[in-house]
Symmetry: C2
Subunit: 354 residues, 2 copies
């Protein structure tokens, strides 16, 4: 029996392979629109204002920590801070996260040349500032995550100019002008890597890379375009943190990419709800695995949620006694998710895994 | 060297395992918005009018046959004819295929009870009528495909009431009221099966089932909900056509489901562009495989398209000498696709595979 760990120890030990008393638990978008407190803040303040005002970003990041015994908080920010800081004027049409628009889509070399690289980290300084403010407000025994968009997903928004079903412009660019795509990916990777390093310096324990649209690529294209940019980030983070800063990669809809993801150089993989846990474990015995409850399960009542958690915990224990495992959703929590379902999920992990 | 086959022989032989002179080729949405003739017809006529007027549906279905040496035409219709015929008043906000709305979303048993099953095939009779009209107008040596939506995908539109990123209402229904979901799937399967049988009776050689949203489901949910409904269809088609009517299943984003799809009872699988061909062949040595060029490749110039076709033909020849293979895209052709790229694709199959 492993002695009870603090939340932060539990999160950090998920990456060492040491025994855990139970898996750590946090939820993608745990500070999102499903919470009444978040909606109240957003009724008063624009999305960017919340991100850039430490008192507000800390308030919304702490709300789920007060409601549920989650093991880690995550900095309140958005993956599109990077294109915005490059001068691309990202705006959100309504709500946080919905319908982003990018002011100057990347279609030709001149668009890339116009990216504002001077002082880009100064324009991103509000992110590590939010992280430091949150770290100071968070109990010392809770974990803290930072994050950034994966380069290919950032390229998608940058080239298509907003969200899209298929990101035709982005994927066409890979085929028509691979050199331009690689140059843009390389720049996005460098900026994202520095942003992650700054979040570690501000007190984050772990960072996650969100590759929301990586699953649109074939294996060949992912290997050629997405992986080298991810590798540039993980190499830089490893050097900057002397190997202490741990990285997790989430690829939405990336089942076909699973055999490749070890090459990203990350310490952990956050699994999409459709990726069978045991299959990922077989392919990646040494990586930390995180996930992967379907966020829709939270709409089906507490009993259903608890049963799903128990099945996941069984899968986690089946290999290597539940080491290198973190409980999470298989995609971000959905607006409208009942708070009591979230409470049931976290409670089942905390009490059911003993 | 296999003697030259007619297009229709080639299509039919794709299902027998006999040698082919080259793979047959047709393209999902080959009669779509990328063609100027189609756009001209749609400028004058609503989407449902085109579907329900044999002269118009035949005209648009024949347009790509005149432009490119495709081996098969496909009936001009839409997967949402089924919910519309059930009394759910499907409308399209703009263009063909974009933004469908379903008048009475299925949320409770009373909604299902209100479905109009009496004479539903009479309300669908315009589909086999379009097929018969097209068959008469098409040269006898060309193949003809019919189609229907797969039950789970029809359920998605029926429950969520339109298109969606994640079809939360539909997937929640599976967890909260599986009996209602299964009853609806069973009804949708019965109506779709009859519609496919009617298209065979009208002269179609092969039919395709489109499971556009099946890839949202986990393996467990696909096995529990989607497969039995598919199996009901393929059993019915097999009985009705005395084993002569061949069926193909397309699941978008279904790489994680690939090991299950043999249980659908179909004769062929149409592969998403992200599914590696050789992996599908290894899993399904006896099924006909169709696909799977990324539709975005058509935006990258003729040389790129031709190289992709050659790589696909190599994969097809590598196993079983290219038997049981059909060239297609890995998703529907996109609006804005250059016609000369389509010409290059088809030409490379016709001339390059000799």
């Amino acid at each position: 029996m492993t002695p009870t760990l603090s939340s932060r120890q539990r999160l950090l030990r998920s990456f060492t392979g040491e025994p855990l008393d139970r898996p750590a638990v946090w939820l993608m978008r745990q500070a999102g629109r499903y919470l009444s407190g978040y909606r109240a803040v957003r009724a008063q303040h624009g999305f960017w204002d919340v991100c850039k005002t430490p008192a507000l970003s800390t308030q919304v990041a702490l709300e789920p920590m007060a409601l549920f015994p989650l093991d880690a908080a995550i900095v309140f920010s958005d993956i599109l801070v990077v294109p915005d800081a490059l001068g691309l004027s990202v705006s959100f049409s309504s709500g946080g996260g919905d319908g982003p628009r990018v002011g100057r889509p990347l279609r030709a070399r001149a668009d890339l040349d116009a990216w504002q690289l001077d002082d880009v980290q100064a324009r991103l300084a509000f992110v590590p500032r939010a992280a430091a403010h949150l770290r100071a407000a968070l109990p010392a025994d809770r974990g803290l995550l930072g994050f950034a968009g994966a380069p290919f997903t950032l390229l998608c928004y940058t080239v298509d100019g907003g969200s899209s079903d298929d990101f035709v412009h982005t994927r066409t660019l890979l085929a028509r002008d691979p050199g331009l795509a690689e140059a843009a990916l390389s720049t996005l990777a460098a900026v994202a890597a520095d942003l992650l390093c700054a979040q570690f310096d501000a007190g984050c324990d772990v960072v996650q890379l969100f590759d929301t649209w990586g699953g649109l690529l074939t294996r060949d294209d992912y290997a050629r375009f997405a992986l080298p940019a991810l590798r540039a980030i993980t190499d830089r983070v490893r050097a900057h943190t002397k190997g202490q800063g741990k990285t997790i990669l989430f690829v939405r809809g990336g089942h076909h990419l699973l055999p490749l993801l070890g090459e990203a150089g990350v310490d952990g993989l956050s699994l999409d709800w459709r990726t069978p846990w045991r299959e990922a474990r077989t392919l990646h015995p040494r990586l930390t695995l995180q996930g992967n409850i379907d966020p829709v399960a939270l709409f089906a009542g507490a009993d259903h949620v608890r049963a799903r958690v128990r099945a996941l915990l069984r899968d986690m224990r089946a290999d290597d006694d539940g080491r290198r495992c973190i409980v999470n959703l298989g995609h971000g929590i959905l607006p409208g998710t009942p708070e009591d379902a979230v409470a049931a999920l976290v409670d089942e992990v905390v009490r059911g895994a003993g």
